[in-house]
C-alpha cells in the first residue's frame, strides 16, 4: 500500500506548488551548470578555433586573452626569422561597443593578416572570407548583421562579406573579423577634434624646447604621433617535425617574448579569467542546492507533523518502522525528483532565451540529479526523526 502517494493525492495542491517552487530552484541550478559550461566553452572557443602552434605575446604576459599583451607589429618579422618557424602572423583582439542598427552592441574585433596569415575565420557558412585589404568584415550572426550589410566603425563603412559561427569572444560577445590595418584603425583612430588637440599639445611642448626652432618643431611633429602599428600577439605555425618547446624557448630567450602552445593558452584561461567565474558559479550552485534541500526538508517535516497522529495509529496497529520510513522518504524523493524533472524540462525548453550561452550536457544533469536525490534523502531525515520517535500511545485519548 503506497501511503506516500495516497497522502500526496490528498494534498496535491500543496505538493504541486512545492514541486514548482523547488523545481524553479533546480532550474536555476541547471542554468548555472549550463552557464558554467557555456562560459568555459566560449572562453576557450576562439583559442581552439585559432589553434596555432604557438602564441607569442609580450614578455611575462599571459596574453592575449587572459591578460593584455602589446607588441609592435614588426615583431612578427623577427619571430618569422626564428629557426623552425614556417609562418608568423600578427594578431590583434579587442572589445568595443558600437551602434549596430538601432542599438548599441558590444562585440570583439579580431584583426589578422588577410593575405594568408593565421587567425582568420576558418568556417564561413554564408558569403566569403575577406578578400580586400580594407572595409570588409566577417561577422558572427549574433551581431545581427547579414551578408551585404554595411556597418559603420570609426569613420568608415564596412561591408559584411561573410558570416561565421565558429567562435565567440571569451566573454560571449560576437566576433568581427577585419583586416589587420582596419582593426588597428578602428582601435586607434581618434576623433578629428581630439587629434587636433593632441597635435597642439605636442607642438606646444616642442616649442618650449630652446634647441628647436618653430619650423623644426613642425617637421618633428608627424614623427612623434602615437604609433598605431600595435598588435596583441603573433600566431606561429611551425615547420613539420620541429620541437615546439624548443622554438618557444628560443623565442623567449632571443626575442624577450613569451610563447605558449594552444594547450598552455587554454590552461592560462582556465586558471585565470575562467577560474573565478567557475568558483562563483560553484558557490551559487551549492547554495541553491542547500536551499532546495532545506525547503524540501521543511515541507516534508510539515507533511510529517500533519500526520503525526496517523503515524501513531499506524504504530499502534503494529506497523513496522520501515512502513513509516518508506512513507516519509518516498514523499521526500517524489518531491525532489518531481521538482528536478520540472526544472530539467523547463531549462531544456528555455535555455535559448538566456542572453549568455547555456551549454547543457547530460553528465551535468546526471550529477545534479544524484546530488538532488541525495539531498532528498537528507531532507527526509528531520521528518523521519520525528516520525520514528512518535509514541503509539499518542493515538489513544480524545
Amino acid at each position: 500500500m503506497d501511503l506516500a502517494v495516497y497522502d500526496l493525492k490528498l494534498h496535491r495542491g500543496r505538493f504541486i506548488a512545492t514541486v514548482l517552487g523547488v523545481g524553479l530552484l533546480f532550474t536555476i541550478v541547471l542554468a548555472m551548470n549550463g552557464l558554467y559550461r557555456g562560459n568555459i566553452h566560449e572562453g576557450l572557443a576562439l583559442i581552439k578555433a585559432t589553434n596555432p602552434d604557438l602564441w607569442v605575446v609580450e614578455r611575462y604576459r599571459g596574453g592575449p586573452f587572459n591578460e593584455q599583451s602589446t607588441l609592435p607589429e614588426f615583431y612578427h618579422y623577427s619571430v618569422k626569422a626564428m629557426a623552425g618557424v614556417e609562418k608568423a602572423s600578427p594578431f590583434i583582439y579587442y572589445t568595443v561597443e558600437r551602434p549596430i542598427g538601432a542599438k548599441s552592441q558590444q562585440f570583439s574585433i579580431i584583426g589578422f593578416d588577410i593575405f594568408g596569415g593565421l587567425g582568420g575565420p576558418q568556417k564561413i557558412y554564408a558569403g566569403r572570407n575577406i578578400e580586400q585589404a580594407h572595409y570588409e568584415m566577417v561577422a558572427h550572426p549574433k551581431l545581427g548583421a547579414r551578408v551585404g550589410d554595411r556597418i559603420p566603425l570609426g569613420i568608415h563603412l564596412y561591408t559584411v562579406v561573410g558570416l561565421t559561427r565558429e567562435a565567440v569572444s571569451s566573454n560571449g560577445d560576437p566576433l568581427v573579423y577585419l583586416s589587420l590595418p582596419d582593426a588597428q584603425e578602428v582601435l586607434f583612430q581618434r576623433d578629428n577634434e581630439q587629434m587636433r588637440n593632441q597635435r597642439e599639445r605636442l607642438l606646444r611642448t616642442l616649442s618650449g624646447q630652446s634647441y628647436l626652432s618653430p619650423s623644426q618643431s613642425e617637421k618633428l611633429l608627424p614623427q612623434l604621433q602615437s604609433d598605431t602599428h600595435i598588435i596583441n600577439a603573433i600566431l606561429v605555425r611551425l615547420k613539420p617535425e620541429v620541437n615546439r618547446a624548443e622554438v618557444a624557448r628560443d623565442i623567449e630567450k632571443w626575442l624577450y617574448l613569451s610563447a605558449f602552445s594552444t594547450e598552455e593558452e587554454l590552461a592560462l584561461m582556465l586558471k585565470g579569467r575562467l577560474a573565478s567565474m567557475a568558483k562563483q558559479l560553484l558557490l551559487f550552485r551549492t547554495l541553491l542546492l542547500i536551499i532546495s534541500v532545506i525547503i524540501v526538508s521543511l515541507v516534508i517535516y510539515t507533511f510529517t507533523m500533519e500526520k503525526i497522529r496517523s503515524i501513531a495509529v499506524m504504530k499502534l496497529l503494529g506497523a513496522p518502522n520501515w512502513v513509516i520510513i518508506r512513507m516519509v522518504m518516498e514523499q521526500s524523493l517524489l518531491l525532489t525528483i518531481g521538482a528536478f524533472l520540472f526544472g530539467l524540462a523547463l531549462i531544456h525548453n528555455t535555455y535559448q532565451l538566456f542572453p549568455r550561452t547555456l551549454l547543457l550536457i547530460p553528465d551535468d544533469d546526471l550529477v545534479t540529479f544524484i546530488v538532488a536525490f541525495a539531498g532528498g534523502i537528507i531532507a527526509s531525515i528531520l521528518g523521519l526523526w520525528h516520525a520514528l520517535k512518535t509514541q503509539p500511545a499518542m493515538a489513544l485519548g480524545g
Binding site: M1, K307, L317, G318, A319, A395, L396
Partner: protein, 232 residues
C-alpha cells in the same frame, strides 16, 4: 477459553519522592466472547492499564498471559515482538475513530491487512466483507472526512476486526456519543465479541453503558476496587 490474564501488574512512574504508582496489583482475566469494561474516573489508571495491555507501555512488575503465552513477567517482555503481536492479535477502536485521513474507508481496513502480508485479492475481499458486515460498504471509496461520525466509527470497527484479532481494545468508544448511539456501539461490540469469539476490553468512564458489559472492573487510584459480573 481465556484470552488475557493479568496477575499483580504494577506500573510506577518516576522514582524517589517523584514516584507515582499508576497501577498496583492489578488482576483480571478475560475470555473469548467477553465484553469487559475498565471503568473509572480520570487519573484512575485505566488508560495506563490499556497501554500496558496494548504492549505499548512496559509494566514495572507483574505478569501478562496473552493467548496462552506469557508475554510479560518481572524481567520484561518475554522475547515477544510487541508490534507483531499487536498487528496480528490485537484490534483497536478509538474515541475519535483515528482513521487515517488520506486513506479511503476501504484502504483504512486494508491497512492492517497489508501489515500482516495478506495477498491483495484476499485482502480486498476481506475488507469488503468487513465493510458489508458493518453496513458501510456503499461508502468504501470515501475519505474519512466525507463520512459522518457514525460511519467513521463503523469503519474503525471494521479495521479493528480486519486481522481477526483475539483481543479488541476500545478506548472511550462512546464518550462523544449520545445515549442511543452509545448503546448501538455497545451492542455492536457485544455482537463482535460473540460472533468473532474475541475478547473486547473497553476503557470508559461512561457509567450509562455499564449494563451492557459482561464484566466491569472499577479502578480507583491505580487499583481495581470493584469487579462486577453481569449474568446474561
Amino acid at each position: 477459553m481465556e484470552i488475557l490474564r493479568i496477575e499483580g501488574l504494577s506500573k510506577i512512574f518516576g522514582s524517589g519522592h517523584l514516584e507515582v504508582r499508576a497501577l498496583e496489583d492489578i488482576k483480571l482475566s478475560v475470555s473469548e466472547g467477553d465484553l469487559v469494561a475498565l471503568l473509572g474516573p480520570s487519573g484512575s489508571g485505566k488508560t495506563t492499564l490499556l497501554l500496558c495491555i496494548s504492549l505499548i507501555l512496559d509494566p514495572t512488575g507483574g505478569k501478562i498471559v496473552f493467548d496462552g503465552q506469557t508475554i510479560f513477567q518481572k524481567n520484561g517482555w518475554a522475547g515477544v515482538d510487541v508490534r507483531r503481536t499487536r498487528r496480528e492479535k490485537i484490534g483497536f477502536i478509538f474515541q475519535s475513530h483515528n482513521l487515517i485521513p488520506f486513506l479511503t474507508a476501504k484502504q483504512n481496513v486494508l491497512f492492517p491487512l497489508s501489515l500482516i502480508g495478506l495477498k491483495k485479492e484476499e485482502a480486498e475481499s476481506r475488507a469488503m466483507e468487513l465493510l458489508r458486515y458493518m453496513e458501510i460498504v456503499d461508502r468504501a471509496d470515501y475519505l474519512p472526512a466525507l463520512l459522518s461520525g457514525g460511519e467513521q466509527q463503523r469503519v474503525a470497527v471494521a479495521r479493528a476486526l480486519a486481522n481477526n484479532a483475539k483481543l479488541i481494545l476500545a478506548d472511550e468508544p462512546t464518550a462523544s456519543l449520545d445515549t442511543s448511539r452509545g448503546k448501538k456501539v455497545m451492542e455492536l461490540l457485544k455482537k463482535i465479541a460473540k460472533e468473532n469469539r474475541s475478547a473486547v476490553i473497553v476503557v470508559t468512564h461512561d457509567v450509562r453503558m455499564i449494563e451492557g458489559f459482561d464484566c466491569v472492573y472499577q479502578l480507583k487510584d491505580g487499583r481495581i476496587v470493584d469487579e462486577k459480573t453481569n449474568s446474561a
